[in-house]
Every structure is written in C-alpha cells, then in structure tokens.
C-alpha cells in the first residue's frame, strides 16, 4: 500500500541495541603513521543485540569525536556502524542515530564515555595482561505510533528477542535481564517490608499521642 506514512495509533514498538567501545593497548609493532603519544587503539560502535542488522531502520550514525581528531564528525552510512581510531585520552563521544526516511522520525542522540584503561575490580590484573577493555551500554529504541512502513520493516525480522544466555560476546541477554529484574524485585520487597514496619510504628505512635493528649 502506498499509504506507508500513516501512523499506527496506540502502538509502540521497540528494538534493543548495544553501543559502546572496545580498546586495546598498542603494541610495539604499530604502523609509523600513528603519532608517538597515542597509547591505545579503540573502536566505538553501535550494533544490534545478537549481531542483528540495524541498517534496516537506521540510515546513518554520526559519531562526534574529540575536536582534535581530523574530521571529528564521522558519519557512517552502512553497517557496521563503528569508528576505529588511535589515541591516548578518554573523552565523551556523542552518537547521533538517523533513521530511514520511511520512519519520518527525528534523530536521537546518546553519549558514551570512551574507556581506554581497565576499570572495575580486576583493573590491576587487566592492566598487566594488556587485555581488551570494553565498555558497553544496552538500550532500546522505542518508536511510539510508528508509520506503517517502519512497522513493516521492524516486523520483517524478529528483533526484540534477547539471547537466552550470557556470553563473553553478548553481555546482554534474558539472563542478565532476569538478574536485574530479580535485583529490583528484591529491593522492592525490602522497601515494602520497611514501609509496613513504619506504618505499624505510626499506628503505635498515634495511639500514644492520642493517649497523652487525652490526659
């Protein structure tokens, strides 16, 4: 149907994705074009969960690097949506995602702090290993009232299913989701317990106050 631009009311469709960076320290056998003060080679990327192809609804991704990089605004028009560079410093990269014209949607922007040095509890160990440092963030695009064409694109292939198990390649899965859900439920029950106790205490106090006042 040619009326692909009509919007489907009351409908919301979402697509998960992952963005972040990987970094690896440069070895001695590096090409001579790299300036001597660069210590790491890093790649900032935006990709789908499960290695999904986002280019069906993502037209291009613009990574804005630090100004000191030549052509600091890198526009990637086709998958894989990633930028590989060398450097020495950590800075904030803005990632602007433009959607295909059928979507008739404006672009969304997210920020990612580039991580080069190992962090977390195993920082020391990783430093000596010269291991790859990764910093990734899971997020979801939520399309409210999508156009018909966008809806068709997004439903052609199932895209919202998360892999069941966690693995080194795919750190986001239903397993991790469930873990988080469990954590949240635990917290919720604790809070409820506290509320209950407090309400009881309030009752007691009110009774005391009434008793004292009537004296």
């Amino acid at each position: 149907m040619s009326s692909g631009s009509k919007r489907l009311k009351n409908l919301q469709i979402c697509r998960p994705f992952v963005y972040g960076n990987m970094a690896v320290p440069l070895k001695e056998d590096r090409s001579p074009d790299i300036p001597p003060d660069h210590t790491h080679s890093w790649t900032v990327f935006l990709k789908g969960v499960n290695g999904d192809d986002l280019s069906s609804f993502v037209k291009r991704v613009v990574f804005k690097l630090h100004e000191t990089y030549p052509n600091s605004s890198r526009s990637i028009e086709e998958p894989p949506f990633e930028v590989t560079e060398t450097g020495w410093g950590e800075f904030e990269i803005s990632i602007r995602v433009y959607f295909v014209p059928e979507a008739s949607e404006k672009n969304v922007v997210m920020y990612h702090h580039l991580k080069l040095h190992p962090y977390g509890p195993e920082a020391e160990q990783q430093k000596s290993d010269g291991a790859t440092v990764t910093s990734m963030q899971y997020d979801e695009f939520v399309f409210s009232e999508p156009t018909e064409s966008l809806f068709e694109i997004l439903t052609k292939k199932s895209g919202a299913v998360l892999p069941a198990q966690k693995s080194t390649m795919v750190p986001f899965s239903t397993q991790s989701e469930n873990e988080e859900l469990d954590r949240l439920s635990d917290a919720q029950s604790k809070v409820q317990e506290n509320i209950r106790r407090l309400t009881e205490r309030i009752h007691v106090l009110e009774q005391e106050k009434a008793a004292l006042q009537s004296l």
């Binding site: 979402c14 997020d139 299913v161 859900l181």
Partner: protein, 482 residues
C-alpha cells in the same frame, strides 16, 4: 563557529595544530618573475591580489610632438550629393583631399509622401471641402517640409481660384485631410493590385487613423493641464490623497462587516441554552466540555470545527448515546480478531460509561479507525509473537522515537538524592544495566515505593517527636502541648 573563527575575532594567535590535525593547506602561488622596486613593494602590500578595477584618468593632454612636420591644409572644392543642383562649394581639408561622399549627405532623409494620379483622386479622394488642387498643394508642402506639421501649417498659404471658397485651414484640418488621403490611397492600391497588406502595411494603416475631434480635445486637455496654477495643483493632489484614503477605509469597513457576519452566523445552537445560565449550569457545562475533550483525545479524533457547540453533546442525550455506543462496540468486537479484542473491548466499555459522550458519528468513526489499525497489525503479527517484536499497546501515546533509558522519571532534586542513597543501600546501581520494558517498569515501581517509604518515615519521625514532646511536657499543663 570554529575555534579558528573565534581566534580571528579576538585577535588571538592561531593555535598550533596538534598532532591529529593537518594544517590547512592553502595554495600559495609562487610566481617565477622577479619584482623590483615599486612593484615588489606593491606586491608585498597587496598580497596575491591586484586591484580589480584600475582608474585611468587623463588629466593632461598628450605631449605635443614637436618633431613632426605639420600636414598642410588644402582649399578644396566639393559637391553635396544631397543637392539636386550641381552647386560646387569650397572648404579647407587637412592633408590630401579625398573625394569621398560629403559626410553630411547621409542626413538628407526624405519622408515618403505618396503621389496620387488623377484617376485615383477621382476614385476615392474627392471631398466637398477640398479641391484637388488644394490637396495637391498640401501634399507638395508635406513633401517639401518632411511632414513637419507646424512648419507646414505656418507656410500654408493656398491661393484659391475664383470660384473656390476661401477657408481657414487649422493644423487638424490639414492633418485630417492628409491622413485620410493616404489611407484611401493604400486601400485603392491594395484593391487594384489584389495583393493584401503585409503586417507592416497594416500597422501603418492603423497608425494613420486620425481622429480630428479627439486630437482637438487632447490638445485642449494638455493646454489646461499646463496652465494650472500652483494652488490648483495642490488642490488636485489633496483630492487624490483623500480619495485613496476613502477607498481604503471603505475596504476596511467591508472586511469588518464580513467578519462580524461570520461571527454572528457561526455556531447555531440546536437546544436552548437556558439551562446553562445558572452558576450550576455553567459548572456543568464546563464539566461537559472537559469530559468530551478528554474523550476526543483518547479516541484520537481531531477537533470538529464548530459542532453546534457543546450543547449538542448535551447531558440529557446520555442514555440514548450510551446504548448506541454499546451496540457499536458489540458490532466492532465481532469484526476484530486476535489479542486486540480483549484490550479494545475493555477500553470501549470504559469510555461508554462516561457521563457525556461525543456525538454518535464521531464515536463510530474513532472506533473504526482504531479497529482498522488493529486489523492491520493483527494481519502481520500473529498474536503470540508480539514480544518478539517488542510491540505493546497503550492508550495515550506521544508520537516520536526515544531511548528507553531517557524516559526514567526524575523527581525533585532533594527527594532524588535521598532515593539515590536508598537505592545504593539496596544494592541497585543508579544507571540500569538493561533498560528493557519490564526492567523499567519495575524500576519505576521501586522508585515510587521508595518515595512512599520516605514519606512514611517522615510521618513516623514527626509523630515520634510529638510523642516525645508530650511525654516530656507531662505532667505539665496541657496547653503547652500540641
């Protein structure tokens, strides 16, 4: 604004390009030629550019050449080719005389005044007021003076013969006669030869269409225009201005009238509005409008322009429209298949239960639209697989795309810090590891619960404090407490 622009504006020295940035390569022309003295200085001053326009001013005459021998002047005879006689005159010519054409001969242009034969005259040119002799005299004069009418009129001195009446010929008379004859001649010649006119001939014919009365009047007008006094001119200007102003004000009047009429004509109320004239009636009316507005928003139907006012959706109509909506709901339910059924059914019954309902056609239209969307979606997505695509249905949606991580609600900053500290105690990170739909929902719920917890704690503390105050005040006078 790049940093280079800002530096330029503030006159700061240009930044040393750091390792990553290559220096802007501007192509510098290196000419091979050596520049000396003034040219080198100029080049340094001007840079690459030379001025676009050079102004040459010849303030001085050329230096006279003293060395040359002067060329002789010769007293020569010459003939003017424009003259019919062989008059020979003399003039000085510099150098050797060339017998070229006399330079002023080319200015002798003649007007083609047509000549007519006696037959032609008898055929069409005869006129009561003009004799053939006089006509010929006129034509001769025209030929002589190149159709310069003022001169012709001045020189016109026709000597009539014995039997002809003597008449004063005005300029208009002469012109009229001349042009009439010319046209008649053109016509006669065309009819005689059978060759039709060229477009140029036609133009000429039309141009010679002389209207004596009009010409006389035109000249009178011009005379009058020229002979206005300054006072008259001022008066005329003033009148023109006033006329324009009146035009505009009348136009404005018409526009205002139109608007007023439009205003008066718009919404005609079907029922009387007497019931809404009391204060209760007014509040009732306001409530009706609000509720029907909400209804309309929910169904996603655009506002009808002037639907006979809110009165059309009057409260008394509720039981009827309620029943109607129910019937429509059932009919729609029969059509819709799949998961949508349950969702839509409940929604529609909810809406039907509201006190004031929209006009029936609008309702059914909205429902049709909804079920149309539902039908389309159902076709493509088998009901069970909605989770695979991340599809969900909501009542009220703002159009657009967003990241789920951005939509976690924030509270007031003071409250937010307390909530954050409690979350930290509970072991939940401030940023969600996996903001999926379920996770976000639960996170929101958790935040609300924590909020509630804080409130209850506050209340408990307050009561605690009061009790303490009371116990310490006891057994003192009760008026101190509270």
């Amino acid at each position: 604004m790049s940093s280079a622009d800002i530096r330029d504006m503030l006159d700061l020295p240009s930044q040393v390009p750091s390792a990553g940035r290559p220096p802007p390569a501007k192509r510098i022309k290196t000419d091979g030629k050596k520049l000396d003295g003034i040219h080198r200085e100029l080049h340094n001053l001007l840079g690459e550019n030379t001025h676009a326009v050079t102004v040459m001013q010849n303030k001085f005459k050329e230096k006279p050449n003293w060395m040359q021998k002067p060329s002789p002047w010769v007293w020569t005879k010459f003939k003017n080719q424009a003259r019919k006689d062989d008059l020979e005159l003399h003039h000085w010519v510099r150098g050797t005389p060339t017998n070229d054409e006399y330079p002023f001969a080319k200015f002798d242009k003649q007007v083609d005044v047509p000549t007519f034969s006696k037959e032609e005259y008898d055929k069409g040119l005869a006129d009561t007021a003009w004799t053939p002799r006089e006509t010929e005299y006129l034509f001769d004069l025209c030929r002589e003076y190149d159709l310069r009418w003022l001169v012709i009129q001045d020189r016109y001195d026709y000597e009539p013969e014995e039997d002809e009446p003597r008449s004063i010929r005005t300029l208009e008379d002469l012109k009229e006669r001349y042009y009439f004859c010319c046209r008649k001649i053109m016509e006669l010649r065309r009819d005689a030869s059978g060759v039709d006119w060229t477009p140029r001939d036609l133009e000429l014919y039309n141009a010679m269409n002389f209207n004596k009365d009009k010409e006389i009047m035109r000249k009178q007008y011009l005379e009058r225009l020229l002979s206005r006094s300054p006072a008259e001119i001022a008066e005329e200007e003033r009148l023109i201005l006033e006329y324009r102003r009146l035009q505009e004000s009348s136009k404005k009047l018409v526009q205002d009238r139109e608007e007023l009429l439009r205003l008066l004509e718009s919404p005609q109320t079907a029922n009387s509005f007497a019931q809404y004239q009391s204060p209760q009636g007014l509040s009732q009316l306001a409530g009706n409008i609000l509720a029907s507005d909400k209804n309309r928003r929910r169904k996603g139907v655009p506002e009808p322009p002037a639907q006979g006012g809110p009165v059309a959706r009057a409260v008394p109509g509720t039981p009827n429209s309620g029943a109607h909506t129910q019937a429509v709901v059932q009919a729609q339910q029969g059509q819709v298949a799949g998961v949508q059924n349950g969702v839509h059914g409940t929604k529609q019954t909810q809406l039907a239960g509201r006190p004031s309902v929209q006009a029936a056609p609008a309702v059914s239209k909205a429902e049709l639209a909804q079920s149309a969307t539902a039908k389309k979606v159902v076709k493509r997505v088998p009901p069970g697989e909605e989770n695979h695509y991340g599809i969900s249905y909501h009542d009220k949606l703002v159009q657009g795309v967003y990241l789920r991580s951005t939509k976690i609600s924030t509270l007031k900053p003071t409250v937010q810090t307390k909530v954050a500290s409690i979350l930290a105690e509970l072991g939940i990170a401030p940023k969600l590891a996996m903001p999926t739909a379920k996770v976000c929902e639960r996170y929101e719920a958790l935040q609300q619960a924590i909020n509630l917890l804080i409130e209850t704690k506050k209340q408990a503390d307050k009561l605690d404090h009061e009790v303490k105050v009371l116990t310490s005040a006891n057994p003192g006078p009760q008026s101190d407490t509270k």
